[in-house]
């Protein structure tokens, strides 16, 4: 593999990584704040992708889908939290894992019920259907747009976390929810807000990914796998961890595709296992 190709594989990997970041930041936030393992995170991604599909069919433009997706995911997340998940906060992690796993299964089957099991196509908006030239390299305009959107969202999120009251409460809550509630803040409202935000971000990832790989009922499972790897590698509860972890996994995947493609998947889960064994706090998490 020549140097030029390597450079481009790395750049390409950064692009993939931005989507992985969007996918994972919600999961890490919820886990960091509420110590809640959300196996239904992929289901939010899935629901958003299908919402985007339906809206883009109805309106003829995927851009409306880009609004519909995160909204649908946030609504689903809030509904799940209010109706079901809030009852499990006191339960051991195993119970939370199993319940959210069951929820993911239900959403998946519901999607097949509502549509069917065939993969569906979501066309890229016309004005983004071409390619751009970055020096000697070719890159699809849509992917560049996705990177751009993800970067803007990352920035907005960072600002929200560092500069707004809600963000501060979130960060404080990640350290100690007890302290936050002792300070008179309604912790449950915070949880709800975190769920909505986390779900919305996963939904944005789903809506953005739809034109890249189509929508199918099993995309949720696949997304969950990647999200877990990124969250573990980056550090549970860390925003910068999700960003770094996402980019790292994206780059590994892209570079591996030229070096040892079969090993790409193996390496990614191997990296997850390695981090868990050696430094479970991940790259950016607190030890």
């Amino acid at each position: 593999m020549s140097g030029q190709v390597l450079v481009f594989q790395v750049l390409n990997g950064l692009g993939i990584g931005m989507i992985y970041f969007l996918l994972s930041v919600g999961l890490t936030m919820i886990f960091g704040l509420m110590r809640f393992v959300n196996f239904a995170h992929g289901a939010l991604y899935l629901a958003a992708a299908y919402a985007a599909y339906v809206v883009s069919l109805l309106t003829g433009s995927m851009l409306w889908g880009l609004l519909a997706g995160p909204l649908a995911a946030a609504i689903l997340a809030v509904a799940a939290e209010r109706l079901l998940l809030r009852h499990t906060y006191a339960m051991p992690h195993e119970a939370q894992i199993l319940i959210t796993f069951a929820l993911a299964l239900i959403v998946q089957e519901a999607v097949i019920l509502g549509f069917d099991a065939q993969a569906k196509n979501v066309p890229v908006p016309d004005f983004l259907a071409g390619i751009v030239f970055l020096g000697p390299f070719v890159y699809p305009a849509y992917r560049l747009a996705v990177v751009g959107v993800a970067a803007v969202v990352a920035l907005l999120l960072w600002v929200a976390l560092e500069r707004t009251r809600f963000g501060t409460i979130l960060r404080a809550g990640s350290e100690s929810t007890e302290m936050v509630s002792l300070l008179g803040i309604d912790v449950h409202r915070v949880f709800l807000g975190a769920f909505a935000l986390g779900g919305g971000l996963a939904g944005l990832a789903g809506a953005l990914a739809a034109p890249l790989r189509g929508v199918d009922p099993f995309m949720g499972e696949e997304a969950l796998g990647i999200a877990f790897v990124v969250v573990v590698v980056g550090g549970i509860g860390s925003f910068t961890g999700a960003l770094l972890g996402g980019l790292l996994i994206g780059v590994v995947q892209s570079v591996m595709s030229s070096v040892w493609p079969e090993g790409a998947r193996l390496m990614i889960y191997g990296a997850m296992a390695l981090v868990l064994l050696v430094r479970p706090a991940g790259l950016m998490g607190r030890a």
């Binding site: 998947r265 296992a273 868990l276």
Partner: protein
């Protein structure tokens, strides 16, 4: 009755019950092959339930050892013409050893991290299987696995009835062994670890070593079930080692109840029969399984077996004679 969680005796009422059920099963169920499938998954579920119920370890990776058992036995039977009994036992041992080795790494972590480690291992196992497709047949699986005589030319597995008998004996042995372990001093330590790890450590027990041993034993059970699966089907399909298999085993263990080995058997039976029955009515039957799972986790923490045990306990005071 919650033998894993509160300790039990070996043998006890359930031992006889399970033996009786195994004998009666092919006559109660519509087919012998369904009974065989049930028995195979009962043992596999046992491996999940043992870890969860006795040690409090939630493992998303038992499918990995099920798969190892399935492939190792398939290769021994197909490529080396091994007799069935040694092949099955060897496969179980390989799986158990593999589990022990992985456990040396995995038990360094607890709680959610441990769960995620098992998840990572399960995923790696699947991709490793695909990478080794020369030996495992990749996405086509390993077909044409012969059913050789049990040992030294004796005990030909001629027909579904004979296969069931062999599998049922193995399942009973697995059940009895698990009960034995549960009732032993080793089992008490595992229970103590589940209740309060720090206290067990303070009492001087090498908690990690015990967890490794428990994980190895569970891997042995899963590997045994995998080998039984290969003998039952005469082939090793690729899904024996994928994540869905791990998830399925866990779901069966939760439904049946991880509080006792009988729960695992009940869970496997219930799930398989329900799946068989429901899938003919509605292709989206998994949705109902999801709802059932949520119901059980919320309301019936010890699964169906635990629920039945609690119900029976409530009835018993009424049976106490007065005076």
């Amino acid at each position: 009755m919650s033998a894993f969680q509160e300790g039990g005796r070996f043998p006890d009422g359930t031992t006889i019950g399970v033996a009786a059920a195994l004998v009666a099963l092919p006559f109660i169920l519509p087919s012998v092959t369904l009974a065989s499938e049930l028995v195979v998954f009962a043992v596999a579920t046992l491996s999940c339930a043992f870890l969860l119920g006795m040690v409090g370890l939630l493992s998303f990776g038992q499918g990995l050892f099920f798969g190892i058992g399935a492939y190792v036995s398939a290769i021994l039977l197909r490529e080396h013409g091994a007799a069935t009994l040694p092949a099955v036992l060897a496969a179980a041992l390989v799986a158990g050893t593999g589990a022990g080795l992985l456990a040396l790494l995995a038990v360094r972590r607890r709680g959610v991290y441990f769960v995620m480690l098992t998840l990572a291992f399960a995923q790696m196992g699947y991709f490793a299987m695909l990478a080794l497709r020369e030996s495992t047949g990749g996405e086509n699986g390993l077909t044409g696995v012969p059913r050789t005589p049990l040992l030294g030319g004796f005990g030909a597995l001629a027909g579904p009835g004979a296969i069931y008998a062999f599998l049922a004996v193995l399942a009973f042995a697995a059940y009895a062994l698990t009960q034995c372990v549960g009732a032993s001093p080793f089992g008490s330590v595992l229970r103590a670890i589940r209740r309060n790890e720090a206290r067990a450590e303070a009492l001087g027990y090498d908690v990690r070593a015990f967890k490794v041993a428990a994980f190895a034993f569970a891997g042995l059970l899963a590997g045994l079930a995998g080998a039984m699966h290969t003998v039952f089907l005469g082939f090793a399909p690729p899904n024996v080692i994928d994540l869905e298999m791990s998830e399925r085993l866990l779901v069966m263990a939760i439904i049946g109840g991880a509080s006792a080995p009988a729960g695992a058997f009940l869970g496997a039976g219930f799930y398989l029969l329900l799946a068989d029955f429901l899938s003919a009515l509605w292709p989206r039957w998994l949705l109902l399984i999801g709802l059932l799972l949520i119901g059980i986790v919320l309301f019936l923490r010890d699964g169906l077996w635990g629920g039945a045990a609690a119900w029976l306990r409530r009835l018993r005071p009424a049976a106490t004679p007065h005076g």
